[in-house]
């Protein structure tokens, strides 16, 4: 089998530390999340439960991210994805669903630094103000020319998930937007976004 190819690891640029792209265990589950039978059947397999609209839950390497009314993105250890797919398949046997190991299809970047909102706001249409996008929320949007999911983990940490095939593009995009001298400071300004 061919090896996974990912672009070179990032580092610090200006006030932002860009780490990745990292290949994480990812499982896509598609099923009617509003269906209580599905949630009940998933019970023990998903210790984090089924997250609400645009919610991201995590516990160590485990994560459950709401992607759409019928799609969840489950995070796990890189080599645990296959087993998770099998466990979900067993739990939902007989119920209408689709579950697949998508680890090789996606890449994750981690941004560390207080200015991640500034940097991400330069790259897409998402409202990056603290009021527009709260901690713990998952926002699927566009960064430059590609789709990406933003997951805010705290005041100084955000994760960006994109397709692995465009990880090199996203890395360059983030790197350039974070370059020293390009600081906008909109979210710190007195006439910045409404509180």
């Amino acid at each position: 089998m061919s090896e996974r190819v990912t672009p070179a690891a990032g580092g610090r640029n200006g006030a932002l530390r860009i780490m990745g792209p990292e290949s994480r265990g990812m499982v896509t589950l598609r099923a009617d999340l509003a269906d209580e039978t599905i949630a009940a059947a998933l019970g023990d397999v998903l210790p984090l439960g089924v997250p609400g609209r645009r919610e991201g839950r995590h516990d160590g390497a485990k994560g459950a991210l709401w992607m759409s009314p019928d799609e969840l993105l489950l995070l796990c250890e890189r080599d645990g994805a296959g087993a998770l797919v099998a466990r979900i398949g067993e739990a939902l046997d007989g119920l209408h669903h689709l579950v697949a190991d998508m680890s090789d299809a996606r890449a994750v970047f981690t941004l560390e630094g207080e200015e991640y909102r500034e940097v991400l706001a330069k790259l897409g249409p998402a409202d990056m103000s603290p009021r527009g996008l709260a901690h713990g929320e998952v926002r699927r949007t566009r960064l430059g020319q590609i789709p990406a999911a933003l997951w805010l983990r705290g005041d100084t940490r955000a994760e960006v998930i994109c397709f692995r095939s465009v990880a090199g593009y996203l890395h360059d995009l983030l790197w350039q937007a974070a370059a020293p001298g390009g600081r906008v400071g909109y979210f710190q300004r007195a006439d910045g976004p409404p509180a």
Binding site: R53, P125, T141, P147
Partner: protein
Amino acid sequence: MLILTCPACGIAADETELHPGGEAHVARAGPHASEEAFSDYLFSRENPRGVHFERWRHAMGCGKWFHAARCTVTLEIFGTYRADCTAPPEALLERIRAARPGWSWRDFK
């Protein structure tokens, strides 16, 4: 720039996150329709100056299709609603009646 609120994920999505899907509520003619009716289904579209109903897809977001009602002149958005319906919800029609007295779009007034 259009900003439509996706009813599936609740995001106020800007136009660059969306993909247009053309006119809303187009019903397929057939299976035993006349050639004229089928040609209308394929090619005839509304081109209103005013209230219009369209399909959009939140392509760079949750990926879901939805419907939107907007004014083609002022770009005012009257509302968005779910994809799986054959007619706009009555509450939305009421809102448009209040904002644009005397409007009509196909059979809707």
